[in-house]
Amino acid sequence: MAKPKLALYWAASCGGCEVAVLDIEAKILDVAAFFDIVFWPCATDFKYKDVEAMADKSITLCLFNGAIRNSENEKIAKLLRAKSVVLVAFGSCAYEGCIPALANLTTKEEIFKTVYLETPSTYNPEKVFPQPITKVKEGELEIPVFYEKVKSLDQVVDVDYYIPGCPPQSNQVAAVIDVVVDILKNGKPLPPKGTILGAGDKTCCDECPRTRKEKKIKQFHRPHEIMINPDECLLDQGILCMGPATRSGCGALCVKANVPCRGCYGAPPNVHDQGLKMLSALSSIIDAQDPEEIDKIISTIVDPTGTFYRFSLAHSTLKAADL
């Protein structure tokens, strides 16, 4: 029997997801043995035209990382969707936009103006901006079209499953691979469409080793403003920690390193909007009844949008596409 075919791709991403896959170490050999890796730009020879030539649904599994930032990202997402039986949004960018989607709080025009005109080292007296097509004396040069907004993968194509994390932790990646192999080898049924794979079904707090008290917050502190007690709950100390609004699965790595969670595993189960979840979590721990005092305490949170939606903006209720 022919081996199942595996494809991995990166769109607008940092490369960390690819390193996370390589970090599964010896298991990568199992992957190579079980699957026929037909397309993995970072580790095998790229044959883009070969993918185009494949029959539809001929790739068994495609792990797609990176957000949709430009025309080329979208083009390849559509191609891989057509060729794949199962398409997985791998990592925070593909799942929910991640940090690059903070760009949705601004506009393409502002980005171009800042990057190509206003940054203080830029020398651009003729106000040149990169163009999709440039005519030079020898011919034409082409680069992709930069989109107005960053989109998650499922905002441009139909997605079957999601693997959260920035990046997904290697032990979780390895566990997902075991499950997939089991399904394909032993004919086990696929999980329901839309399932989040490679993560827990609780919140980050569930994995956090710190001791919790009954939270009563009078003021929020920024992490560099106080000496952080390594054993006590960060929220108890007034440090804004996204733990209560973040899915478990990473092993609470950041809080163990004595800094707060920033939410890279996305919203917990049955929560669509991570930022709203954080707001509701905060409302129950602020130590005040008087609306004015509540406002005052809330105002000690700097950059609530950029913090509550650090990783999930593209996929949030806000979407920020229409802000």
Binding site: K47, I111, P167, D303
Partner: protein, 488 residues
């Protein structure tokens, strides 16, 4: 004019994240060559409004291959914004993390990306010209050693940085987490093995490359030479330093052109914009943009392992210093403009990084609990500079009085080399593609080698990952008919 068009797309492992367009003239020679970067994310804009202390955790996402570099440059810019110096132990923990990172990253390039060209030869089959081919040729033990070296690197990143990828522990004023004596011992034993691996790598390079006259000739050939200014961070004795110091630039004759502090970078570096690439082209501001030209009259500089060695007077650790002296003696004195010598410079830096890591992990202060101070004032502006493996990395932040970002400017490692890469590729293409010469896979690889020596990381600029690059080269006549196509 009937221009033929050769498009090397993608030059990384994937479609569209880097592209070389070569145009041939009537005579069949190279008329011009464009090196394009087709991606932009715009961190300089979307970081505005964020609290500055979050930047070491946000800018890591510029690159998942070298997040440590952004984490450190950002942390140093934050220190400057808050006008605070980390306590000695905090600073040493950062420098330890940073040197272990360098040792891991440089080894990755040498074994997986750059090395195969030499170990297997530039004309070897693409199927062999990769890390597995290296292992097949020089023995599985070397493959194991390399994987072990990388595992040490990952383990130390997770311990000191909180995460293997996208570190979180640096804050304005220091680090969030110290090192216990037990942990220190574990790091020391790993670093000892890293030093041994670095020494072994130097020996491997000597045996495989330096003892082969054909390779030495190739390194020194004009096709791979590029005479431009050299940039690198140096300590107070003008020795190479990755974490701190002043940026020194020397001219094509090795004479000091300028030495500047991070907060003087704007007087010294500026960036030119072209419509056909999303990536800007830095140049020396005091000379002004003169175009893509070599020599002291041009304003192009390189920021690579080789340029760092050129810009410095030596290395701060004994074994690396001995190797530094040997390199310049072998290659005919300073400065060296042979692009392919960057590979040698890189493993000298690998040795330095490992030696420096050992010094730091054996420093009695490294386990001190005094690792962070709380900033008391906000300066509203700060610049942080480190050497990233792929070049001088500058983060510049302007905040309001609450430390909320108003302006962000980033000049990342690979971006410095945007013009030199374009020029090196063009020079290699002109030297190798001639009328009547069949453009073979070996020819393409030799063009690619000019690019690969820079270890370009467009994760910073955009992104790429180590490994052998795939190429599709199409040569067309003026009617767009395909005359020749080479794929791999």
């Amino acid at each position: 004019m009937s221009t033929k068009h050769i498009s090397i797309d993608p030059i990384t492992r994937l479609e569209g994240h880097g592209k070389i367009d070569i145009f041939l003239n009537d005579a069949g020679d190279v008329e011009n060559c464009y090196f394009q970067i087709p991606e932009l994310r715009g961190f300089e804009q979307f970081c505005i409004g964020r609290p500055v202390e979050e930047m070491p955790r946000i800018t890591t996402r510029l690159c998942g291959v070298c997040p440590e570099a952004h984490h450190m440059a950002s942390a140093k810019a934050c220190d400057a914004v808050y006008h605070v110096e980390p306590p000695s132990a905090g600073r040493k923990l950062r420098e330890l993390l940073y040197n272990v990172f360098f040792a891991g990253d440089h080894a990755l390039h040498f074994y997986a990306l750059g090395g195969p060209d030499f170990v297997l030869g530039p004309e070897a089959s693409p199927a062999e010209r990769n890390i597995l081919g290296v292992v097949a040729k020089v023995g599985v033990e070397i493959g194991k050693k390399f994987i072990q070296h990388r595992a040490h690197h990952s383990a130390i990143m997770e311990l000191l940085g909180g995460k293997k990828i996208h570190q979180v522990t640096s804050l304005p004023g220091g680090v969030s987490k110290g090192l216990t004596e037990e942990e220190r011992k574990g790091v020391e034993s790993r670093v000892l093995e890293m030093v041994e691996f670095a020494k072994f790598t130097i020996k491997l390079f000597e045996d495989v490359v330096l003892k082969n006259k054909a390779y030495v000739d190739l390194i020194l050939s004009d096709t791979y030479s590029l005479k431009v200014y050299s940039m690198g961070l140096v300590d107070e004795k003008n020795r190479v330093n990755f974490y701190d110091g002043k940026v020194r630039v020397v001219d094509c004759n090795g004479k000091e052109f300028v030495k500047y502090s991070p907060n003087e970078y704007l007087e010294n570096v500026a960036e030119h914009v072209e419509p056909w690439s999303y990536l800007k082209f830095p140049f020396l501001k005091k000379i002004g943009w003169k175009g893509f030209i070599e020599g002291n009259e041009g304003s192009i500089y390189r920021a690579t392992p080789l340029s760092r060695l050129n810009a410095a007077d030596g290395m701060a650790t004994p074994l690396a210093q001995a190797e530094y002296e040997r390199m310049y003696k072998t290659l005919g004195g300073k400065p060296v403009h042979a692009t392919l010598a960057t590979h040698w410079a890189r493993i000298i830096e690998l040795l330095y990084a490992a030696e420096r890591s050992l010094e730091l992990v054996r420093d009695p202060e490294i386990t001190s609990p005094n690792i962070r101070v709380i900033p008391k004032e906000t300066q509203t502006e700060g610049v942080g500079i480190v050497e990233a493996p792929r070049g001088t990395l500058t983060h510049h932040y302007v905040t309001d009085e609450r430390g909320i970002l108003k302006k962000v400017n980033l000049i990342v490692g690979t971006t410095n080399n945007n013009a030199p890469i374009a020029m090196s590729v063009k020079k290699a293409a002109m030297g190798l593609i001639k009328k009547g010469v069949q453009v073979t896979d070996g020819v393409l690889n030799k063009i690619e080698m000019a690019f690969r020596a820079y270890d370009p990381c467009f994760g910073c600029a955009t992104h790429t990952l180590p490994g052998q690059m795939p190429l599709v080269v199409t040569i067309r006549n003026k009617n767009g008919e395909v005359l020749q196509e080479i794929r791999r």
